[in-house]
């Protein structure tokens, strides 16, 4: 892998101004009107509750807005504890004296869904308290605003809904990114990624990055195999949980976290571990754990005895996780399993190749596999360099026109 730093494109192409945020025009206008109303004094509703599905630009909109208006964001998200005590400490002072010192502030509670009962006891009540007493704008962000726990909060807020983006909007955005990255992309390919994202532009951008980074061309064939694949984000989370698990149980449980096909998950782990595990001894141990899981997988398939499943899971999750010291070296993107790409994109190719082998083998008294290895490479060179002679030989071997053009077309 090259040493160039991997920056997620969601970060690299994050909108800096509200005008760069795609879609949801109505919601953006509502937010802008509300924030402007603060110029005339504290309005009746001092808080905004932005809600909508993941990846449609809720947080990004707030950040772009603050940037446009040169306001300071005081942000809290699910990664921090939000107990009553914590909320007071975080927002108490800022909500009282915000505008007196330096830039004016906006207090943002992101991922409010993540304020959970037990761990963040009293957190929601504390947020209500902040809103009631605030002298600066407060914004709440959540996926689902209609959770009964938010009843009190909803009464205090202007509700702003963010909707899923349309396929056209997402695709147009992907086109812009490709242009900036110098990638010539098929419209059909981008539309396909956009459709798959079901309005989640963040996942669409991450998909695009995983598929197109480092290439100068992106064709429909490059992406079509994604069809009917599990939602990537789910797999990414599961992968991360397994590779970086702190306990064997966590690693094993990750399998149940999402509805991910086990064979598929195996392929993802197999593809990605060499990019994460750099120490040769650790890599060999991790690959060995996977190889052993693979043996049990073979036994399960052969015998149909599902009791072997437990060893497969043990080895491919905990076995891999505890082969290495988990020293993450920066942000490493997950890659699509090459083997699946190969298998699905070249099944027909494989069959064609086998048939070519059989026909050559028949004439030359050898098996199809040996014909492919021992005769085909020479035939290819002849066809490419001396088509006249090559075609004569190919005809004698009973190869069809399709086969001939396949052989001539594939590079040695």
């Amino acid at each position: 892998m090259s040493s160039s730093p991997y920056i997620p494109w969601t970060l690299k192409y994050k909108p800096k101004s509200l005008t760069e945020v795609i879609g949801n025009e109505e919601a953006k206008k509502k937010i802008l009107d509300w924030i402007n109303s603060w110029r005339k004094g504290i309005p009746e509703k001092k808080a905004l509750f932005i809600y909508g599905p993941p990846g449609v630009g809720k947080t990004v909109t707030v950040e772009a807005l603050a940037n446009d208006l040169n306001m300071e964001l005081v942000m809290s998200d699910a990664s921090t504890y939000r107990t009553e005590e914590a909320v007071k400490r975080f927002a108490g002072r800022a909500s009282q004296f915000g505008s007196l010192f330096g830039r004016s502030k906006i207090i943002v509670f992101d991922e409010v869904d993540g304020v959970t009962g037990s761990a963040d006891a009293g957190g929601l009540a504390a947020i209500v308290n902040v809103i009631e007493n605030t002298r600066v704008p407060v914004i709440l962000i959540a996926n689902d605003a209609y959770d009964p726990r938010f009843a009190l909060l909803r009464n205090l807020c202007i509700m702003v809904e963010f909707k899923r983006l349309s396929v056209t909007e997402v695709a147009r955005h992907l086109t812009r990114i490709c242009a900036k990255e110098g990638i010539v992309a098929d419209d059909k390919a981008l539309k396909f990624i956009a459709e798959r994202s079901s309005g989640d532009v963040r996942s669409a951008i991450l998909d695009l990055q995983a598929l197109a980074q480092g290439k100068d061309k992106l064709t429909y064939e490059d992406v079509s195999w994604l069809a009917a694949r599990d939602r990537k984000e789910e797999i990414f989370n599961v992968l991360r949980m397994i590779l970086y698990a702190k306990s064997a149980t966590t690693a094993k449980n990750a399998v149940n976290m999402a509805d991910v096909d086990l064979d598929m998950l195996f392929e993802w782990i197999y593809e990605n571990i060499p990019y994460h595990i750099k120490n040769p001894t650790e890599l060999a141990a991790a690959m060995d754990a996977l190889a052993k899981a693979d043996i049990y997988r073979g036994i399960l398939k052969e015998t149909g005895d599902w009791s072997f499943l437990r060893y497969i899971i043990d080895l491919m999750t905990a076995g891999v996780a505890f082969s290495w010291s988990k020293k993450a070296s920066g942000w490493i993107p997950f890659r699509f399993p090459e083997r699946i790409k190969i298998a699905s994109s070249t099944k027909e190719e494989r069959e064609l190749l086998e048939e070519i082998g059989r026909r050559i083998g028949k004439k030359c008294h050898m098996s199809s596999s040996r014909a492919i290895v021992e005769v085909l490479p020479y035939l290819r060179i002849i066809l490419q360099n001396n088509p006249k002679v090559g075609k004569r030989i190919a005809k004698w071997l009973n190869l069809s026109e399709e086969m001939i053009s396949y052989i001539s077309g594939t590079s040695g």
């Binding site: 060499p274 690959m287 693979d294 997988r297 004439k363 492919i372 020479y378």
Partner: protein
Amino acid sequence: MWTEKYRPRTLDEIVDQEEIVARLKSFVKAKNVPHCIFAGPPGTGKTTAALCLAHDLYGENYREYIMELNASDERGINVIRETVKTFARTKPIGEVTFKLLILDEADNMTDDAQQALRRTMERYSETARFILIANYSGKIIEPIQSRCAPFRFTYLPAEAVAKRIRYICERENVEITDDGVEAILDLSGGDLRKTLNILQTAASVGKTVTADLVYAVVGKANPADVREMMLTALNGDFISARSKLRELTRKYGLAGTDIIRQIHNEVFRLNIPDIWKVKLADIIGEVDYRLVRGATEEVQLSALLAKLVEAGYEMKRSAK
């Protein structure tokens, strides 16, 4: 293809392998052939000898009396049970009272299939004789070996191959330099099929077959090789080594067992401490065993590559 065009039709046309030819001719004379095993490296004339024997025995229409099966393509036990039985059961019309069944690449047959074959050979020996062709006779089960007359084919001597090359060049109006001949001999190592494939390809690409042209052609035919993949791994680059592995299996259709065999051959040629050769042989054996048990080729071979990366790393450390 020149390999077919210049394949001898009769036992008389076979150059070299004199002893074998003499014995086969005596079979023709007696109009009787025992079950045979033709063993030896690739491109030494095993299949040719079997076909020539059939020709001399049955005459121009020999195809009606023989069946050619390739065990690699049809190695299942059912093929032996059905196809072979149906063929072997009936008596041919004519002077010769048996048919000839040529089973190529017989060392790729499963043990079960070989057991089934053994019965069939016994039961129908009145009406059918078998010629088993293999690179290694050791892979044929003992009970079959003991029922067959063994023939050991060896690589043709360089002079014989060189003579063949010049003969064909003359017939095909191809100019070839002396170093061109040398280069082909060097690369084909006595394998006549490989010799002719290289020669024909070089002749169709360039006007004169020179050493440079020969090396260029062969280099293009085998861009990805097992040795290179292993060296890449030993140098610590697992990801590139895995890509090479994928290229070998995907583009060149190499089977896992073929790759394992080549890896094993290469290990003992590598410039590494002997103790590591033994350690690696042990690991390779384990992987081979797993493949036989039905594990996934690429995953197991990748695990082997990871071991090579580790070995390279350990060697560098202990060298310091």
